[in-house]
């Protein structure tokens, strides 16, 4: 296997695991719009970093975290979806400015939006693994309180859990997963991995531990299958990721509906 393929395989695997684990909570919290908005905000941040001449990963992380905090701040006196939409518009407005001022309009933006999994370097593999591990650690730490806050908010409050802090923890975990996923999978398609496998897993089981494990399995299958198909056909990886994810979602949904009858 050539070195660039090994790098793509390794980083793709890390992204698959991080996205599936964060995605489990995203789906349980019905936060699909949020999961779509954060990678796009991150894309705008990366464009800003390119404009300033620093590592795009920093811009990505800053905008992903900043976007998450902005949504949670706006949400206090606004519908969640409106808060998300406004944060997205703010980030993308800034992104449009950065892109035009940088002047490297076409190629740079295309790579950030749709990802360049085959162009991943050795250093990027390490960075991806590091942030991915951080994301998993945070989920392990937050798992029980976050599950309680998600499914029984009143109980969590009554037990004296710091609900606000746990919610912020969830936002930061999502931001971390986004930071891992965007450079590899692209801003537009990270979203497919964040929600698709977890939504499919949720159709098959209600038990949290099982659903999370299933979500990771689906996510790994999606990424590995997509990388293989992309290698064989030369078509973009993102197309296969989306197609596999949509197929998994519709298939498990049909299965769940059939078993209910």
């Amino acid at each position: 296997m050539p070195a660039y393929l090994a790098a793509a395989w390794l980083s793709g695997t890390t992204v698959a695991v991080a996205a599936a684990v964060a995605g489990f909570f995203i789906v349980r919290k019905n936060a699909a719009f949020f999961a779509h908005a954060l990678p796009k905000a991150g894309f705008a941040g990366a464009a800003g970093a390119v404009f300033l001449g620093v590592n795009p990963l920093y811009g990505l992380a800053v905008f992903a975290v900043g976007g998450a905090l902005a949504v949670s701040r706006l949400e206090k006196r606004e519908q969640g979806d409106v808060a998300t939409a406004l944060t997205l518009v703010a980030a993308l407005g800034a992104g449009a400015l950065f892109l035009v001022l940088t002047g490297r309009y076409a190629t740079g933006a295309y790579a950030l939006l749709f990802g360049q999994i085959v162009g991943v370097t050795g250093a990027q593999v390490l960075a991806t693994a590091g942030v991915g591990a951080l994301c998993l650690l945070a989920v392990a730490f937050l798992y029980r309180p976050l599950l309680l806050v998600t499914h029984a908010r009143e109980v969590a409050e009554a037990r004296g859990l710091p609900v606000g802090l746990v919610e912020t923890g969830f936002l930061l975990v999502t931001a971390l997963a986004v930071t891992v996923a965007v450079p590899v999978a692209g801003a537009l398609l990270s979203f497919s991995l964040l929600i698709g496998p977890a939504a499919a897993a949720n159709h098959l089981t209600c038990r949290p531990g099982k659903a999370m494990a299933l979500s990771v399995v689906f996510s790994l299958l999606t990424v590995w299958l997509s990388l293989t198909l992309a290698y064989l056909t030369g078509w973009p990886t993102g197309f296969f990721v989306s197609a596999v994810v949509a197929g998994l979602y519709l298939g498990t949904r049909a299965l769940a509906a059939a078993s209910r009858i």
């Binding site: 789906v27 019905n30 936060a31 699909a32 719009f33 999961a35 779509h36 206090k76 006196r77 606004e78 519908q79 979806d81 409106v82 998300t84 939409a85 406004l86 997205l88 518009v89 703010a90 993308l92 407005g93 800034a94 449009a96 400015l97 892109l99 035009v100 001022l101 002047g103 309009y105 076409a106 190629t107 933006a109 295309y110 939006l113 749709f114 692209g186 537009l188 398609l189 979203f191 497919s192 929600i195 698709g196 939504a199 078509w235 973009p236 993102g238 197309f239 296969f240 990721v241 989306s242 197609a243 994810v245 949509a246 979602y249 519709l250």
Partner: protein, 282 residues
């Protein structure tokens, strides 16, 4: 002085101001319903879904408007059919959007490989208010009139379905049909916006002015008026500032209309929020 004389005489500027105003006004009116119904995600997703159609239209060599509209309407039907149950709505929207984005990635790949259009991705993603063809202007005008007329005809049942769905059901209003017609209307408005001002401002003009307007007044009709007015103001000021920004640093090119308009929309929203915050309480 001469620069601003050029501004008022340039046909591109006239076109941008007129088209931008039409799109902003229609988006503001529909946007109030979008905010009331909590469908911001669908409103934004349809803009992105249309982009896949535009990439396809570029490949087929037809006007991108038809690609935007075809995918927008298909996407709207998909979102509505898959997301009937409230709990599943956001996820269903997300899956349809993910599929469309995947198809877009493939079509853009073919655009750059086969049609040789390296600029295609950027035009599709960030449309420009200055480069709309005259034939498109007429289509956009007709579509806007049709959507405005249908919205007017549906106003009362739609409002009832949006605010009191249970009451609408007991009064015998076909709620499912009304929400299907609404999302199709929404698709037409959003795709017009994506074509004329790009996907970013399509969402901005749909949600921002409406979210500000529903804070300014409790009457839906007035909220629509304010949303349309704020939207038009943001677009006009955006075009104006973008034209003036050619002299700003770092030089060489102007700042984009989408940046100014998005910034103004947010300023309007935050001002409305601050202004009404004390009365509503935290």
């Amino acid at each position: 002085m001469s620069m601003w004389a050029g501004f008022w005489q340039s046909p591109e500027v006239h076109g941008a101001l007129a088209l931008g105003a039409v799109v902003a006004a229609v988006s503001g009116v529909i946007g109030v319903f979008v905010v009331l119904r909590g469908q911001s995600f669908a409103g934004h997703a349809l803009a992105d879904i249309g982009g896949a159609g535009a990439a396809g239209a570029f490949l087929a060599g037809v006007n991108s408007l038809w690609g935007f509209l075809l995918f927008g309407l298909l996407g709207a039907v998909g979102v509505e059919l898959l997301g009937r149950r409230a709990r599943e709505r956001d996820l269903a929207t997300g899956i349809v959007l993910a599929l469309a984005l995947g198809v877009e990635a493939l079509l853009l790949y073919f655009d750059t490989r086969l049609a040789g259009g390296a600029q295609a991705p950027m035009l599709v993603l960030f449309g420009s208010v200055f480069v709309v063809a005259p034939s498109t202007v007429r289509v956009v005008a007709v579509l806007s009139l049709v959507t405005a007329a249908v919205t007017g005809a549906l106003y009362r049942p739609l409002l009832l379905c949006s605010i009191e769905p249970e009451l609408a059901v007991t009064r015998g209003i076909p709620v499912t049909l009304v929400s299907l017609v609404f999302i199709l209307l929404l698709a037409v408005v959003v795709e017009e916006g994506s074509l004329v001002v790009g996907a970013l401002l399509s969402t901005g003009l749909l949600i921002g002015p409406a979210a500000a307007a529903v804070r300014l007044t409790a009457k839906t009709g007035w909220a629509m008026f304010w949303a349309a007015l704020l939207g038009v103001a943001a677009v006009w000021a955006g075009v104006f500032l973008a034209y003036g920004s050619y002299r700003w640093p770092p030089g060489g090119h102007g700042w984009p209309v989408s940046f100014f308009t998005a910034a103004l929309i947010l300023v309007f929203y935050l001002a409305a929020r601050l202004g009404t915050g004390s009365r509503q309480g935290a």
